[in-house]
Point group: C2
C-alpha cells in the first residue's frame, strides 16, 4: 500500500463548494485501478487547509495510471477551481508494526 | 475525532533507530486519555521524512491532556533525539461523508 498525502489550500470562503465538489469527484478516483480508500480532513488551526489521504495499491497506480488518465482531468476540473495554490502532494509507505 | 498530523524529519541514517524508538514509545501515548489510534508512514520521495497520524477523541486530549503530562516528556525523550528539526504538528477533523 502507498499513501498519497496531499495538503490542499482552498480559496477563502469556498469550503462548502470544495467539499461538495470532492463528493462529486470521489467516484471518479474511486474507479481508478489500484484505488483503495479516500479520506478528507479539514484543518483545525487553518480551516482553509485540507488533508487528502488516498490509499493506492502501488505508487504507479497513482502517478502513472491515474494521473495520466482522462479521469484525472475530470477529477481536477471538478476540484481544481477551489485551490488557492497548487496542492503539495507526496507519498508515504506504512512502517511495519506501526500501522 | 481529531487527527493529529505530524511531519517529522529525522537525522540522516537514524531511520531504524527512530522506528524502534517509536515502537517502544507507542504504549506511552496509547495509554493517554482519549487516544484512539496511531499510524507511522515513511516518505517515498523523502525517506528521512515520516508522517505520524494519531487519532484523538478531542483536541484537548492531545494538546492539554497528553502534551502537559509526564508521559509526553517520556515519549519525547524516546523519539526526540532522532529529530533533525522540530516536527510540524497540526490538527484536522474528518469531513462528513468523505471519511
Amino acid at each position: 500500500m502507498v499513501l498519497e498525502h496531499a495538503l490542499i489550500t482552498i480559496r477563502a470562503g469556498t469550503a462548502a463548494d470544495f467539499e461538495a465538489a470532492l463528493m462529486r469527484a470521489r467516484p471518479i478516483i474511486a474507479a481508478a485501478q489500484g484505488f483503495l480508500s479516500l479520506e478528507l480532513h479539514r484543518g483545525v488551526e487553518s480551516p482553509d487547509q485540507y488533508l487528502l489521504l488516498v490509499e493506492w495499491e502501488t505508487l504507479d497506480d497513482h502517478v502513472v495510471g491515474f494521473r495520466e488518465s482522462e479521469a484525472f482531468a475530470e477529477w481536477r476540473t471538478l476540484i481544481g477551481p477551489h485551490f488557492a495554490v497548487p496542492p503539495v502532494v507526496d507519498h508515504f509507505v506504512p512502517v511495519d508494526g506501526l500501522y
